[in-house]
Amino acid sequence: MVTTDSAAPVRNPRKHQGRAIAANRGPTVGQSIGKLLVWLALGALAVLVIYPLLWMIFSSFKDNSEVFAHPFGLPSELRWENFVEAGNAGVVRYLTNSVLVTAISILTTTLISAWAAYGLVRLKIPFGGPVVLLLLGGLMLAPTVALIPLFGLLQQLHIYNTLWALMVLYTAFRIPFTTFLIRAYMIDLPTEVDEAAVLDGASRGQIFWQIILPMCRPILVSAALLQALFAWNEFVFALVFLSDGELKTLPVGLMDMQSRLLTNWPVQFAGLTMAALPMLVLFLIGQRQFLRGLSDGMGK
């Protein structure tokens, strides 16, 4: 629809003949300068993007005086003790809590969502339409809006100030998105496979666990990855529903630590580096999977 009218003028070869000939003779001075400028801009952006992180890593090996005296360069020696100190100051505890909450919520979110998606795609559920609407609405609700009532609700359920609170909320708030993600994939699966299994006497549950879930593996991996990113970074709920310092997850714990360590800069930097590393490594290892997961998430 777009190309026909907007690209039409380009099809007139005479108008651009001069330029085409120039291109055949190799790049002109103007084109070379243009290319150079583009390269400079891309390079400068790369430095701008990556240098703050290098600064963080370099500074985490320095001592306090070196942070002040030589802020830009490499550390004079590798002071691993900064990392030990940051670990003892809470980072290890926060990492453990974050891993726990993230892992459990990945499991519950993907399973409950896949379970619901299967029901919606393959079975004629009474009032299935309203259920889809309920899920769709859930996509559009901002978490902070629920903050104040949740505060009371979690206290009544006696899970306020426990990691359970985060696990339950991270699951509930991500079910709509994850269900739609998996549902879109399941719709394209051939129905013959499960019809054949029904004829062989398999129950719906067996079909789900033994046939459907394995077939959905690619989208389940994407769903798990997107959930991991969400749970690992979630801040609002972790800030409001945990008061015990021992229970804090990384995003809130680090903020806590920052106010405790104040001007012990190298240890602060070491803590940040330790917190940034897991996701960074995961990304560098599984880059392809990562990007596919993200574009899956956009295409819902």
């Binding site: 629809m1 907007s6 992180l53 680090l254 940034a276």
Partner: protein, 295 residues
């Protein structure tokens, strides 16, 4: 019409999802709207009905309007960087850069997006720090030392400092989303344009931009709703200060609920946020349901 018990049994499949949604997502949001018509604090025995008082308070509260303004500022600057510039960046990566380097640059640009907002926020508060910060030193190094200042401690610059961090973190992310979408555009279109003598700029506006319309719409909507959901970065970097200059709606809600203990007013701010973000998402669904770009 009677629905047999057999068919009701299929609710086993959706019951867990529906139950969690109703209890932990829908009930609190409905309850929030109800509570916004009451005056109460965490320690008051029973909320008192006050009608629209909390909304009148908001309308007369300069900090509320300033927060809304900051959210708007966030949206506009994010649109310029994360949609406009990211689109150009993606096109440059795809069109100008050779295959091998392209992958490396893409990886570099994307890396900040893998770091949590808290880490990025604390890191940038160090970069802006007048004692150890890179920014002031870099300014001095290039002879612009007179601009050096306490970026997050100055009411005039604090919110821009936060917004700048956000652009650093997200521009590579949206650029990569655009790159992925660009790779789905058939190469023949570009080759045909090249044969016809169209330059890079011409190709960008005649082929790339129109064919990326769907992804662009999606990124615009996500950027817009993201700008009204901002919370984490502001809390970590400035907590809304100095003197409320960098408050956004979410931090102002948090402040009133948990620091000023005016739960009713906080609930009213929550309802405003709900209306704004719900409208943006509804617009997304209406727009993306329309006919998709075909080629």
């Amino acid at each position: 019409m009677r629905i047999s018990i057999e068919r009701w049994k299929t609710w086993v499949w959706v019951a867990p999802a529906v139950a969690l949604l109703v209890v932990f997502v829908y009930y609190p949001i409905v309850e929030n709207i109800r509570l916004s018509f009451f005056s109460w604090s965490a320690f008051s025995a029973s909320p008192a009905f006050v009608g629209f008082d909390n909304y009148v308070t908001a309308a007369n509260d300069p900090v509320f309007w300033h927060s809304l303004w900051n959210n708007g500022l966030y949206a506009i600057i994010s649109l310029i960087f994360q949609v406009g510039l990211a689109l150009v960046l993606a096109a440059l990566l795809e069109e100008v850069v050779h295959q091998r380097l392209r992958g490396l640059l893409r990886t570099i640009y994307f890396i900040p997006a893998t770091i949590s907002i808290t880490v990025a926020g604390i890191l940038f508060s160090f970069i802006y720090n007048p004692q150890i910060g890179l920014l002031n030193r870099a300014l001095s190094a290039v002879g612009l030392g007179s601009f050096a200042q306490d970026w997050l401690g100055n009411p005039g610059t604090a919110i821009y400092g936060v917004i700048a961090m956000s652009q650093w973190q997200s521009i590579g992310y949206t650029a990569v989303l655009f790159v992925v979408a660009m790779q789905r555009i058939p190469r023949e279109l570009y080759e045909a344009a090249k044969v016809d003598g169209a330059g890079h700029v011409r190709t960008f506006f005649s082929i790339t931009v129109p064919l990326l319309r769907e992804m662009t719409t999606l990124v615009v909507i996500l950027t817009l709703s993201g700008a009204f959901l901002v919370f984490n970065e502001v809390m970590v970097m400035t907590a809304g200060g100095p003197s409320n200059s960098s408050q956004v709606l979410n931090t102002w809600l948090y402040h009133n609920a948990f620091l000023a203990d005016d739960m009713g007013y906080a609930a009213a701010i929550g309802t405003v946020i709900f209306v704004i973000t719900f409208s943006i998402s509804a617009a997304q669904i209406l727009i993306t349901r329309r006919r998709r770009v075909q080629w």
